[in-house]
């Protein structure tokens, strides 16, 4: 099997700060699985539970397995959902638990949307916790590639909010 070491390093770099417990990468008959933390005894192997996905044209060929915190209540086992992260994108996660707002006020235009160009200090969203508004900035110059959280929904500490494709400084 032919593994491109540089590609692998880039992958690990990208995942370094992401919130995940297992990462699977498939390309032809090449398969890479990265796990974080101990394997839990009562968890079935994730590979058998996740359906096979076709390579995605234009998008990154990998998927980030992320616990779907914000969706329906989960019993006993965390449900894995696929969050598609565009190639080379930088992930912006929530610095705190709160309610996710993409607009300064209801009815106003969103701070950013997919395709918006942002600077490092551009406000992406507001996280409200007990009536206190906390803005989250991009932290990097780039283009918003994806919005991962739902307007008005609860986001948790460390939850993925945005993907940003970096632009040269």
């Amino acid at each position: 099997v032919d593994i491109d070491l540089d590609e692998l390093i880039a992958l690990v770099e990208l995942l370094k700060d992401a919130e995940f417990s297992e990462f699977k990468y498939e390309k032809g008959d090449l398969q890479i699985v990265i796990r974080r933390g101990g394997r839990s005894y009562d968890q079935e192997p994730l590979l058998e539970r996740t359906e096979k996905r076709k390579p995605l044209g234009g998008l990154r060929k990998g998927t980030v397995e992320q616990k779907d915190w914000a969706s329906e209540p989960v019993r006993t086992q965390s449900r894995a959902v696929a969050v598609e992260v565009p190639e080379g994108a930088v992930l912006v996660t929530s610095p705190l638990l709160g309610t996710f707002y993409t607009r300064p006020k209801p009815g106003e235009t969103p701070f950013v949307s997919v395709g918006s160009q942002v600077e490092a200090d551009t406000v992406l969203c507001i996280i409200e916790v007990m009536k206190l508004m906390n803005s989250v900035v991009a932290g990097i110059r780039g283009v918003v590639a994806a919005v991962h959280a739902n307007e008005g929904g609860l986001v948790e500490h460390g939850q993925l909010l945005f993907s940003i494709t970096p632009l040269p400084e």
Partner: protein
């Protein structure tokens, strides 16, 4: 009560497991708030849903009042169970729950405030005719001198406000008192903004005895007998048992009456523990303080009374009437709990977090394990060292001890050093077998053994 309640569990570890289990049996949904270090913990898997409150440091997560409240509201919870430690005794948090129409599973905010001030609680006990340890607050060294003469040396000299053993001095002779008083007073002024110093009789041989109380909103209040927690190391309890075998029936009844008297005076709601010191030499009891929450050692009371304390605590918080009356409560046999912790006994009980590579608790009669351990659990370094509570119940004290010994012997465990060898050795010590242990016994014993 509506049938579908949803409880927010604002804690971690074994007590989160205990609360979730009680909710599961009541048919209540649970949401667990965790730190980012606890997302793969056993309670995180058991809870109906888990939300990440913040970073690993407790201040960012388990003590983060805003995040806890926001998460509880947004996940549709109707009540919050704070467990022990963390937010459990915070009057401001209980008050915030009232403002947010959230049920706080614990006493009312004003009760927490009244009991949080130790001097205030002591004054309350005094007015009710409950004996307190001889002593009191002093505002000058001269005042301390005359008080110490009255109560007799040795005396403990400590800051009146605040706590945690900070600035506490033991004075054996009158000539040393003034210097100790001045030091304690300046430390108290610097740390707590109040230079008042508390002088208290030092009891050489004391047993720690505490009475479990439980009250509902309709004014029904009962006690569930007492526990003894004399085996301590630096004020940290290691073994707890129920009942306290050292008490005469007369002293035991007096203790229970004192505890209920204090609970009645406060119109106490929920679970609480009234702590006393039993002076073995003088055969006297003194009120210490009230712990307004579920205690770590509650299972020994559950074992001997058959009452599910956490279930009762949840139900009375929802306004349910206590099913039990005092006449229904009786003690059956004897129960002992050992606290297994991730601490290294060969290294001054230094904390020893790390990967638990083997964990196989044995199955044996009369033994209950309250634990969040599992094989390959990464014991995190951020929180307290408690791994498991092993509760053995038998018809009498020797049989409970025998069951506890067997349970410890048969536990298969590997990974970081734990207190298992220490616990096991303690259970063979003659002082423990004879139940003559007092609160400072272990410290003296360890100090002596180290010197040898």
């Amino acid at each position: 009560m509506t049938t579908q309640e949803k409880i927010f569990v604002a804690n971690r570890g074994e007590i989160a497991m205990r609360i979730i289990e009680a909710c599961d049996r009541l048919g209540f949904d649970t949401v667990l708030g965790v730190s980012s270090a606890d997302t793969t913990s056993l309670p995180a898997r058991r809870a109906g849903r888990t939300v990440v409150l913040g970073g690993p440091r407790a201040a960012e997560s388990y003590l983060n009042v805003k995040a806890v409240m926001h998460a509880a509201i947004e996940t549709g919870c109707t009540a919050i169970h704070p467990g022990y430690g963390f937010l459990s005794e915070r009057a401001d948090f209980a008050q915030l729950c009232v403002e947010q129409r959230m049920i706080f599973i614990g006493p009312r905010a004003e009760q927490l405030a009244a009991l949080g001030d130790k001097l205030n609680a002591r004054e309350l006990a005094k007015t009710l005719g409950v004996p307190v340890s001889p002593g009191g607050p002093t505002r000058s060294a001269a005042e301390a001198q005359s008080l110490a003469r009255e109560i007799g040396f040795p005396v403990l000299v400590k800051a009146a406000h605040g706590g945690g053993g900070r600035g506490m001095k033991l004075v054996f002779e009158e000539k040393d008192l003034a210097a100790a008083w001045n030091l304690a007073s300046s430390e108290a002024a610097a740390s707590f903004g109040d230079g008042t110093v508390f002088i208290e009789r030092f009891v050489e041989a004391a047993k720690h005895v505490e009475v479990q109380v439980l009250g509902d909103e309709r004014g029904n209040r009962i006690h569930l007998g007492e526990r003894e927690c004399s085996l301590q190391f630096r004020y940290q309890k290691i073994l707890e048992e129920a009942p306290c075998a050292a008490l005469s029936p007369e002293v035991r009844e007096r203790l229970h009456n004192y505890a209920v008297r204090i609970a009645d005076a406060l119109d106490y709601l929920s679970l609480g523990t009234v702590e006393f010191l039993y002076d073995v030499a003088r055969d006297e009891v003194f009120f210490l303080e009230v712990n307004p929450r579920v205690q770590v050692e509650h299972p020994v009371t559950e074992a001997v009374t058959g009452v599910d304390l956490v279930r009762s605590q949840i139900l009375v918080a929802f306004g349910e009437e206590l099913e039990l009356r005092q006449g229904d409560v009786a003690a059956d046999g004897h129960a002992i709990e050992a606290r297994l912790t991730a601490q290294d006994p060969s290294n001054g009980l230094r904390p020893s977090p790390g990967l638990l590579t083997r964990w196989r608790p044995p199955t044996s009669g009369g033994v209950r394990w309250d634990t969040h351990m599992f094989e390959h659990y990464m014991f995190p370094p951020y929180y307290d060292a408690l791994m498991a509570k092993i509760i053995a119940h038998g018809p009498d004290r020797p049989s409970a001890m025998a069951r506890l010994r067997l349970a410890l012997d048969r536990l298969q465990i590997a990974g970081p050093p734990t207190t298992r060898p220490l616990l096991r050795r303690l259970l063979d010590e003659p002082e423990l077998v004879d139940n003559t242990v007092t609160t400072r016994w272990l410290e003296n014993e360890l100090a002596w053994k180290t010197k040898q």
